[in-house]
């Protein structure tokens, strides 16, 4: 069954203030979908990690595409993060807890994956990275 898109929005990510704004936008979308507090917090946190990754690892700027959609009896929120940064050479390595190239804790990518229902990542070194996450209700 093809998902029906209810609402969508494009959020530019160019600074840590943009990431802060993104968190608030994601929270509002999650509330509108009637996610529980825990479900809201998980997707907001995942979005925060991935938004930060765009700034720190994605060449400093990128875009988040938000979509709420309905598929059969369930509704969901999907967020796609795109950047034209250096890309990830070894995705499995990047997903491993503790691995970091930015002096962080190395929990952002793997952590975000654990907090959502759907997680997809594509990256071409030298061209960019795309990460798509989704949580269902």
């Amino acid at each position: 069954m093809t998902p029906l898109i209810l609402k969508s929005e494009t959020v530019p990510i160019r600074s840590d203030e943009d990431v802060s704004r993104l968190r608030q936008t994601v929270r509002q979308y999650a509330i509108a979908l009637q996610f529980s507090i825990v479900e809201q917090t998980k997707i907001v946190t995942a979005a925060s990690e991935l938004g930060r990754n765009v700034i720190v690892h994605g060449g400093g700027e990128g875009t988040a595409y938000l979509e709420t959609f309905s598929q059969g009896i369930r509704n969901g929120l999907r967020i796609r993060f795109e950047d034209n940064g250096p890309g990830i050479a070894d995705i499995n390595q990047a997903l491993r807890d503790g691995f970091t190239t930015g002096g962080g804790l190395g929990l952002g990518l793997g952590g975000a994956k654990r907090l959502v229902n759907d997680f997809e990542i594509e990256s071409i070194p030298g061209k960019g990275t795309r990460v798509t996450i989704a949580r269902w209700k």
Binding site: I37, V38, V44, E49, G104, L115
Partner: protein
């Protein structure tokens, strides 16, 4: 740039984080707290996060860094008021924050700090009497 206010109460510093912090603000807080501990000689630091509806790995690391830096400067830190959804999410994120002492609320947090300070004081007066 906006700053998060730090209150002093005797030997303690109190911080209440009520806004969604962008990363630079979090780093500024880290610096401000470290400077204030040195300036005031504070022995205890209480960070109230009861208004935070989200703590991600960056903020988690900030709390951990503050705890460690305070300890190096002979001050104890306690983080209070973590919301349940935040606690659940942090654990699933893989962030256990072993170095960060927590308490349920400001009252319990202060009681903990006072206890720790009292534990430390007897040792300091003992060591002056020890001859080895």
């Amino acid at each position: 740039m906006d700053r998060i206010p730090i209150l002093q109460m005797g030997e303690y510093l109190l911080v209440t984080i009520q806004v969604d912090m962008h990363d630079r603000l979090a780093l500024t807080l880290q610096d401000d707290l470290t400077n204030r501990i040195v300036e005031t000689g504070a022995r205890g630091l209480l960070i109230d996060i009861s208004s935070l509806s989200m703590v991600d790995s960056f903020i988690g690391r900030m709390l951990s860094n503050i705890s460690s830096m305070a300890r190096v400067l002979d001050a104890e830190t306690v983080v209070v008021g973590m919301q349940p959804a935040v606690a659940i999410t942090l654990v699933e994120l893989g962030l256990y924050l072993p170095a960060v002492r927590t308490a349920l609320n400001v009252e319990k947090g202060m009681a903990y700090l006072q206890e720790r300070l009292m534990e430390k004081s007897p040792m300091e007066s003992d060591s002056a009497d020890t001859e080895e």
